[in-house]
Symmetry: C2
Subunit: 400 residues, 2 copies
Amino acid sequence: MRGNAIIGQSGGPTSVINASLVGAVDAARGVPDITGIYGMRFAIEGFLQGALVDLGAQSPARLRKLRKTPSSALGSCRHKLKDEELPRILEMLKKYDIRYFFLVGGNDSMDTIHRVEAFCRREGYELRGVGIPKTVDNDLYGTDHTPGFGSAATYVARSVAQAGVLARDMQKVDKFVVFQTVGRDAGWLAAAAALAKKEESQAPHLIYVPEKPFDRERCLADVQRCIDKHGFCSIVCGEGTKYADGTPVSASNTRDGFANIEFGAMGGTSAAMMIHRMISDSLKVRGEFQVPESLQMCASDRVSPLDIEEAYLCGGEAVRLALKGVTGVMVSLVRPEGAYRTTLGTVPLSEVAVHAKPMPEHFLNAEGNFPTQEFTDYARPLIGKLENYGTVKMVKPKAL
Amino acid sequence: MRGNAIIGQSGGPTSVINASLVGAVDAARGVPDITGIYGMRFAIEGFLQGALVDLGAQSPARLRKLRKTPSSALGSCRHKLKDEELPRILEMLKKYDIRYFFLVGGNDSMDTIHRVEAFCRREGYELRGVGIPKTVDNDLYGTDHTPGFGSAATYVARSVAQAGVLARDMQKVDKFVVFQTVGRDAGWLAAAAALAKKEESQAPHLIYVPEKPFDRERCLADVQRCIDKHGFCSIVCGEGTKYADGTPVSASNTRDGFANIEFGAMGGTSAAMMIHRMISDSLKVRGEFQVPESLQMCASDRVSPLDIEEAYLCGGEAVRLALKGVTGVMVSLVRPEGAYRTTLGTVPLSEVAVHAKPMPEHFLNAEGNFPTQEFTDYARPLIGKLENYGTVKMVKPKAL
């Protein structure tokens, strides 16, 4: 089938989503069936307004540079496609003679492709729609992991390792540090901090994820025990960490003299800040919280080499599948038996759109405060090299 | 003069303070006058308790590794030395036959060396005390800049550049980002974010420092203008940014329905959070704040190569000076005329101890919302290489 191809980048950015874009452009270039390759400015939101760009006009040098540029160069959006917008989409597809439709994104983006492709089929317009997976949260259904996760995980593990060394050395001043990762519903990224740990005394000591209920009293006891044993405590929490009743930790009541203000309701607060406050108030120790927010999603100098390579491959694979006539699927990463190597597969868009992928039970310990060895075995091949700073052996001077 | 040497690391850590430690140890090793080289655990606090370690027992391999390890391997403290503790210090110096006394630190540490050295002189105990400069804040008097600043500045500029690309691409969702640097009294580190900017549209757009009063209305107007022009706004603030009346921005009153709670007074808040809240409330736009805290002081993978080299040199220079009979000074970095090259000097400890070094007037613009070209010319040689991500030229597709 001859026609133009279009690609968009949707949802939150990653350090490697441009690699997927370039992978798709590289695979589409020079293919007789693909007459032109366009990009959507600001994903489906821009497409609805006719904001298209000609990706074929980008120089190879610019594309090589783009491959290592973080975030979504085309611009992104979080527009949830409405049914009444589908005719407008079809109109644009016809106007630009687009027969190949790609989005790099998460489950909302897969839902968009799925609905556009189904609508076109009903309307008798032939269109091949393939999704390219992306999310730092790693909670996309039907794929072993998502491009974007490995790099964000590298940022997280490295940050926690470095801040752990600092917390150890500054224990006479500050007794704890709370690092917050993104991830509203899934704890993959917070759990990835565990990869920083080589010895029991090292950071991180406690990791809280949305999948396991946060228990205030147990946390306080664990932190105190850790300070007693190691002199300091390194805590990592996912932003969506919740109490057993479902209340986000970020919305906790404070326990001060100010009539239990709800921080969460006032906006601009975070789980790390609330855990920090809880510990400093209850244990009467100083500490700090670290909220890097989207910095963990765009650190191009901390990408996982495998991640950027897989992101590129997934982009190209989507184009190759569409050229073979495949439609209605997302490219997936499949974990082979034995040693890790990149293996591609597909999963129906209809399934990705309606499922999520929280961390499975066996990846988290029973206490709900750390991932298991099974999780670190899973995650280790995906992330970049981490420094092991080790410790200075403190030798007492001989008596004079 | 023959005797043992001792070295401690004091105050907040940096990514390169261990390089200074190793520089001193390397310079002291094998010198006939220095019979042994000791380290203080947790600086003067540990020294008072007799917590010494034998640095001569560290293997050359371990020292090479330590040179690239962030934070203060000996452990640090923020103990302000009391006069009544001086006799105990002298007792320890005598007990361990210490004749060479070094601290890597800021002005409090320089004050400590100064007083220890003066006390010993009065008591007739010969001691040579030399300071090694350190602080990410760059506000140490008598030196062009301080080891630690260039690496923290690299972390800041790189983070702001990356988050700026992300903010540009996500402008359909979030309109602004506020990044907070450390630096309670001086804005050097916040100002260093300006090095990320190559074109007017790029991040950062507004930089607030403690040296210039923060004006709420002007900030809001500037942010709105920037969003109108570029689609997004990148803001950087030093943690100690203040209003004209001296109130820290982090202690501002909120303007919600909750009876003007003082966030600052409740602890665990920050200037970035307050600016974030002010903008989102007043301009009715979404944005995020980023508070990496001490992550910017320990990112060993983002050191400035010059910084780590100068940190090492300053450590060695302190030992060489003391061996020549110099005492009562801190090693300084002197900026030569013309192209930058590392040049060492000295400054009396008595002066470093009592002065600070805020940013000079000509390094900040009249509006108080950005550093001048003179500042970026000053800072550029000191920081590591920054990526310039550039922009994708958006070419409209030809009409079909």
